[in-house]
Amino acid sequence: MSKKPSAILQGTLDLMVLKTLEQLGPLHGYGIARRIEQVGQEDLVVNQGTVYLCLTRLVQKGWIGAEWRRSENNRRAKYYSLTDAGRGQLRAETENWERITGVMDRVLQPVGR
C-alpha cells in the first residue's frame, strides 16, 4: 500500500514557521518553505505560497518581525525574525502541542501494551 502524504493540519503551519525561525534565526520566506519541506520529507505536502499567507498573519499578530535585506546571493529578500511575543507564543503552542500529541498517543496505543 502506497504511503500518501498528509495535508497540513490547520494551525500547525504557524507553529512550524515559528519553530523554524527559532531554530535558524532570521530567514526569508523561501528559506522557511524549503526548511519545512526538508523536515517534512515526503510525509508532508506544503504549498509554498501558503507559507507567505501564514507569514503575513504572524506579522499582523506581532509574533514575527519583517525587514528587507540582501541575501547570501546578493538578492533583495524579506527576512523574518521571531519577536519576544512570538517566542512566548511558541512556548505556549509547543506545550499545547505536546499535551495534545501525548493524549493522542495514549488514545492510539494498542490496549494491553
Binding site: Q60, A77, K78
Partner: protein, 905 residues
C-alpha cells in the same frame, strides 16, 4: 485582546493603503521564484524548466495574490461594495421596480421623518438655560373645555408671595407696540410693529443670562411710578439700531410712551418664548381687554420637586375670576405645575412619541409587502442566475445578502430623498408660521434632529429586510431546485397563493381608497386652484390694534372709558379711510376672512315634527369659523343675503343675540333645513371667548343666511354683529379703487395722523393671504398624491407581475394554441381571462368598500370635497391602469414561438 487589536489595526491599514502591501507581496513572491529557479538550475535543470517548476511549487499566483489581499485588508467591505455596485446596476436595469418601490418607501419614510422632526421640536422640555429642566409654568386648566386659562395679576401676586417650593416666580404677556426710534411723535417717522414681552424682573433672574450691555429689568422698574424702560435683544440692536455703541440711554417710543433702553440681551436669548423686546410688567396691571392673560413661570427651589410644587399650588389655590362672580356657571379647573415648554407645546408623553414613530414602522409594512412581492417576482425570474451562482460556490447567505443589499441601496436612496423632503416640509411650515407673524420658541430646534436621521436609517434597514431579505430567503429556499432545472431552459416557477392573494388584496385596496383619496386631494386643492371667487386682489387687509391711551395701566383704570375711546378711534379711522380717494369702502371685523378662528359650538335641534315638547335637544358638537363683523362687512365684500334679515341697529346693542350664518353652515351643520330661528351656543370658555361675550351659557339665534364669502372653500361660518370698539384688536379690510400699495400707504398715514398709538401691522392684500394658505395646501396635497400614486403604481406592478408569471407558466399551452391556429385576441382572452375575472371580482369588492367608506365617513368632515361620480370614474381609471399593466405580458404571450415551445416540450 492585544493581538486582536494589533490584527485589526494592521487590517485597517492594509484596507486603507492596499497598494503598499500588494507591491511588497508581489516583490516577495518574485524574490521567491528567483531563488527557487536558481536552486533548480544548480540542480541541473534548464532555466526555463527551473522557472516552470518553481512556479508550480509556489502555487497559482492569481489565487495567492487574491488570498494575500484578503489576509491583509477587510475583504467583506470590499465584497459588500461590489454587492452595492451590482445592486445599483440591477436597480437601473429594473427601473420599473426601482421607481415603484422607491416612491412607496420615500412616501412612508418621508412621513415618518416629518413626524419625528415635529415631535423632536415639540417633545423637548429642557430649556437651553442654566438648570433649564427646573424651570416650570403654573397653569390654570379648564377641565371641561380642555383649555389653559390665563392667570390674573392677583394670582401672580399670591403665588409669588406664598409658594415656598418655587423661586423667581414671575409672569409675562405678549403685546404688540408701534416702535419708533426716537422721541418724536411727529408723522413721517417710520414706525414698526413689534412683539414686546411685558415681563416681571423675575424672568431675567430665572433665565440667569447676563446682558451684553447695560442691565436687565429690575424689580423697581415694575413700580407704577417708575420711568418706562426697555431691554432689547442683540438681533434687534443690530437690525434696528445698527449696533449703536451708545444704545444705552437712547430713548424710543413704544406707541405713545417714551422708553429708555437700559440693556441689550445676548444673541439667541428669547425668554420667555421668542421675544426680542422686553418691558417691565407693571405691578397690578391688567390687559386692556380686561382678560386675565398672564403666563406664570418659576424655577423649582433648591431640593423641591415638581410634585411638591404641584401639591403646594393646589393648597394655595387661585383667585376668583371677575366674570365668574356673575351669573356664569362655575368652572371646573385644575392648577398644574408643568415643565415650562409643556405649557406651550402640550404634554406629549415620551411613550406616545415613541408609539407614533413605531406606528410609522408598522405603516411601512404594506408598501414593503408590495415591494417584497415585486422583488420576489423578479428574484424568481432570476432563478437561473441564482442557481448558476450557487453552482459556482456562492452560499445562500451570500445570495440573500446580495438581494438584501440591492433593496437596502434603494431604501437608503429613498431615505435620503425622504429626509430632504421632510426638511423642506418643515422649512415650509416654519416659513408659513413666520409669514403669519409668528416665530419658533427659543428652545425648539427645527430641522436637524439626529434622531430623525437615525430613524430614517432604521426604517431603511427595516424596509430592506421586509422587501429584500424575506422574498430572497423564500425565493432561494425550496425553489432553488427549480432554479437549477431552469438552467436547462425550463421555467416552471409559479407565483404561490400567498403572493397572489397579496396582489389581489392590493388591487382591492386601490379600488377602495382611490375615490376617497381623490376627494381629499380635491378638497385640499380646490380653494387654491379655483381662487376665492371674488376679486381678493382688490382688498387690502391689516391688523389694527388700539393702544393703551395710558388707561388700564394701573388697578384704578376704568375700562369703560377706555372702551369708548377705542370705539371712537376705530369708527373715526374707518370714516377717514372711506374719504380717501384710493379707498372705495372699509370694514372692521375680528378676523380677516379665511383666518377666522375655529370654535366648537353646539346647535339646538329643531323640535321634532308634530311633537309638542318644547324640551331642548342638543345636537352634536361642531367646529365652525366665527367672525365678529361691523355693519358694512357684507356690503364691502359684496356677500348677498340668501334668506332672513341683515343685522339691524338693535343687534349691535350690548346683549343682542342675533347671528348670521353662511350657506355652508346651513348645509353642513344644520343639514339643509330651515335655519331661521335655530339657536347655537359655544363650548369654548377661554379668556378670549369671555371677552368676546361668546360665553357657553349664552344662546344665539340665527336670523339670516348669507352666501359663502370664499365661494370654493366650503367653510361653515357664524357672523356676530360687532360695533366699533368691540375689541381693541381688529382686522381692517379696505376695498381699493386702483393701486393696493397707494391704499396701504394711505392707511398708515391716516392711522398715524389719527393716533400714534394705533398699531397697524400685517398690511397685505387678501389675495396674498390666500396664496400663503394655498402653499400649505399644495404641500399637503402633494403628500396625498404621492401616497395615492404609489398605491396605484404598486397595484399596476402587482398585476404586471401576476400576468408575467401566467405567461411564463403557460408558454407551452400558448405554443400549442398558436400552433392550432388560435386568433391572437382569443389567445390573450384564454390566457388572462381567469386572472382578470378574479381581479374583476376583487374590483367589485373594492368598490363596495369604497361605497361603505363614503357612507360611514363623510369625506367633507375630513377636509375633502364630494366629487360626483368619483367611484365609477376611479374604478374605470384603475381598470385602465390594469389593462396597461397587462399590455407587456400580453405582447410577450403573442410572441411565443410555437415551434420552439413544442420542440422544448
Amino acid at each position: 485582546m492585544a493581538t486582536f487589536l494589533r490584527v485589526a489595526m494592521a487590517r485597517v491599514r492594509g484596507f486603507l493603503r492596499p497598494g503598499d502591501g500588494e507591491h511588497d507581496f508581489d516583490e516577495e513572491l518574485e524574490a521567491h521564484l528567483a531563488m527557487a529557479t536558481e536552486d533548480k538550475i544548480r540542480q541541473g535543470l534548464s532555466p526555463r524548466e527551473a522557472r516552470r517548476r518553481a512556479r508550480i511549487e509556489l502555487g497559482n499566483l492569481t489565487q495567492l495574490r487574491e488570498a494575500g489581499r484578503e489576509t491583509r485588508g477587510l475583504p467583506w467591505i470590499g465584497s459588500s461594495w461590489l454587492d452595492v455596485k451590482l445592486g445599483l446596476r440591477m436597480l437601473r436595469k429594473s427601473w420599473g421596480l426601482t421607481l415603484v418601490a422607491g416612491l412607496a418607501m420615500t412616501v412612508v419614510i418621508g412621513l415618518a421623518a416629518v413626524a419625528s422632526d415635529v415631535l423632536a421640536a415639540f417633545g423637548g422640555t429642557d430649556l437651553p438655560l442654566d438648570e433649564g429642566d427646573r424651570v416650570v409654568a403654573l397653569e390654570i386648566r379648564d377641565l371641561e373645555a380642555s383649555e389653559t386659562l390665563g392667570a390674573s395679576p392677583r394670582e401672580l401676586e399670591r403665588w409669588s408671595s406664598e409658594m415656598r417650593s418655587l423661586d423667581d416666580v414671575g409672569a409675562f404677556r405678549t403685546v404688540e407696540r408701534n416702535l419708533r426710534r426716537g422721541e418724536s411723535s411727529e408723522p413721517g417717522r417710520p414706525a414698526e410693529v413689534v412683539g414686546v414681552a411685558e415681563m416681571s424682573a423675575a424672568g431675567f433672574r430665572l433665565a440667569r443670562v447676563a446682558p451684553v450691555l447695560g442691565r436687565p429689568i429690575l424689580p423697581d422698574d415694575q413700580l407704577p411710578s417708575a420711568d418706562p424702560v426697555l431691554v432689547i435683544g442683540q438681533e434687534a440692536w443690530r437690525s434696528r439700531f445698527a449696533s449703536d455703541p451708545e444704545i444705552l440711554g437712547r430713548r424710543v417710543r413704544l406707541d405713545d410712551t417714551v422708553h429708555t433702553i437700559v440693556g441689550v440681551m445676548p444673541e439667541g436669548f428669547g425668554f420667555p418664548v421668542f421675544h426680542r423686546f422686553w418691558t417691565p410688567l407693571r405691578e397690578g396691571a391688567t390687559s386692556l381687554a380686561g382678560a386675565d392673560d398672564l403666563l406664570v413661570f418659576a424655577r423649582l427651589g433648591a431640593g423641591a420637586t415638581i410634585e411638591q410644587a404641584q401639591a403646594e399650588l393646589r393648597g394655595v389655590g387661585r383667585v376668583d375670576r371677575r366674570w365668574e362672580a356673575a351669573d356664569a356657571p362655575a368652572q371646573e379647573v385644575a392648577l398644574r405645575v408643568v415643565p415650562y415648554a409643556t405649557a406651550f407645546t402640550g404634554d406629549v408623553p415620551p411613550w406616545m412619541a415613541n408609539l407614533i414613530l413605531v406606528s410609522f414602522a408598522v405603516l411601512l409594512v404594506p408598501p414593503c409587502i408590495n415591494v417584497a412581492l415585486l422583488v420576489y417576482a423578479r428574484t424568481v425570474t432570476r432563478q437561473g442566475e441564482i442557481a448558476a451562482r450557487c453552482a459556482l460556490g456562492a452560499s445562500r447567505f451570500h445570495i440573500v445578502s446580495q438581494l438584501f443589499l440591492e433593496i437596502l441601496v434603494l431604501a437608503v436612496v429613498a431615505g435620503v430623498i425622504a429626509l430632504g423632503a421632510a426638511r423642506l416640509v418643515v422649512r415650509v411650515i416654519v416659513a408659513d408660521l413666520e409669514a403669519r407673524g409668528g416665530s419658533i420658541p427659543f428652545w425648539m430646534e427645527v430641522g436637524s434632529s439626529p434622531r430623525t436621521a437615525l430613524l430614517v436609517g432604521v426604517l431603511a434597514v427595516v424596509a430592506a429586510l421586509l422587501a429584500g431579505a424575506v422574498p430572497a430567503l423564500q425565493a432561494t429556499g425550496a425553489r432553488m431546485q427549480l432554479g437549477l432545472r431552469s438552467l436547462g431552459g425550463q421555467t416552471p416557477v409559479r407565483l404561490g397563493p400567498v403572493w397572489t392573494s397579496m396582489i389581489v388584496l392590493q388591487v382591492a385596496c386601490s379600488f377602495a381608497l382611490l375615490p376617497t383619496s381623490v376627494e381629499m386631494t380635491w378638497g385640499t386643492l380646490r380653494s387654491g386652484l379655483l381662487g376665492p371667487g371674488f376679486p381678493a386682489e382688490e382688498y387690502v387687509t391689516a391688523r389694527l390694534e388700539t393702544g393703551a391711551f395710558g388707561l388700564a395701566e394701573g388697578p384704578a383704570a376704568d375700562p369703560t372709558d377706555g372702551a369708548a375711546r377705542i370705539a371712537d378711534r376705530q369708527a373715526e379711522l374707518v370714516r377717514r379711510l372711506t374719504a380717501e380717494p384710493t379707498v372705495a369702502s372699509a370694514t372692521l371685523s375680528s378676523s380677516v376672512p379665511s383666518e377666522e378662528p375655529w370654535v366648537r359650538i353646539e346647535t339646538e335641534e329643531a323640535e321634532p315634527t308634530g311633537g309638542a315638547s318644547p324640551a331642548l335637544e342638543i345636537g352634536g358638537d361642531r367646529v365652525v369659523r366665527v367672525n365678529h363683523v361691523d355693519e358694512a362687512f357684507f356690503d364691502v365684500f359684496e356677500v348677498p343675503r340668501l334668506t332672513g334679515r341683515a343685522f339691524g341697529p338693535a343687534d349691535f346693542e350690548p346683549g343682542g343675540n342675533a347671528v348670521l350664518v353662511n350657506r355652508s353652515f346651513v348645509f353642513d351643520v344644520l343639514g339643509g333645513g330651515n335655519p331661521l330661528g335655530r339657536r347655537i351656543r359655544y363650548r369654548s370658555r377661554d379668556a378670549e371667548a369671555a371677552a368676546a361675550e361668546t360665553r357657553p351659557d349664552r344662546w344665539f339665534e340665527i336670523v339670516g343666511v348669507v352666501a359663502d364669502l370664499e365661494k370654493h372653500a366650503g367653510e361653515q361660518t357664524v357672523y356676530h354683529p360687532a360695533p366699533p370698539g368691540h375689541t381693541p384688536a381688529v382686522s381692517l379690510a379696505l376695498r381699493v379703487r386702483s393701486d393696493p400699495t397707494a391704499a396701504a400707504d394711505a392707511l398708515r398715514e391716516v392711522a398715524w395722523r389719527l393716533d400714534p398709538a394705533l398699531r397697524v401691522s400685517r398690511v397685505q392684500t387678501l389675495d396674498s393671504i390666500y396664496r400663503q394658505h394655498a402653499v400649505g395646501n399644495y404641500v399637503g396635497a402633494a403628500g396625498l398624491v404621492a401616497a395615492t400614486l404609489s398605491v396605484l403604481l404598486l397595484s399596476a406592478a402587482g398585476i404586471y407581475a401576476l400576468m408575467s408569471f401566467t405567461v411564463n407558466r403557460r408558454r407551452k399551452e400558448i405554443g400549442i394554441r398558436a400552433a392550432l391556429g388560435a386568433r391572437p385576441w382569443r389567445l390573450v382572452a384564454a390566457i388572462f381571462g381567469r386572472a382578470m375575472g378574479r381581479i374583476g371580482l376583487v374590483a367589485l369588492g373594492g368598490v363596495a368598500v369604497a361605497l361603505l367608506v363614503g357612507y360611514f365617513v363623510p369625506v367633507t368632515d375630513l377636509g375633502g370635497w364630494e366629487v360626483p361620480g368619483v367611484i365609477p370614474s376611479a374604478a374605470a381609471f384603475i381598470g385602465l391602469v390594469a389593462l396597461l399593466a397587462l399590455l407587456g405580458p400580453a405582447r410577450r404571450s403573442l410572441r411565443v414561438d410555437p415551434v420552439q415551445e413544442l420542440r422544448e416540450g
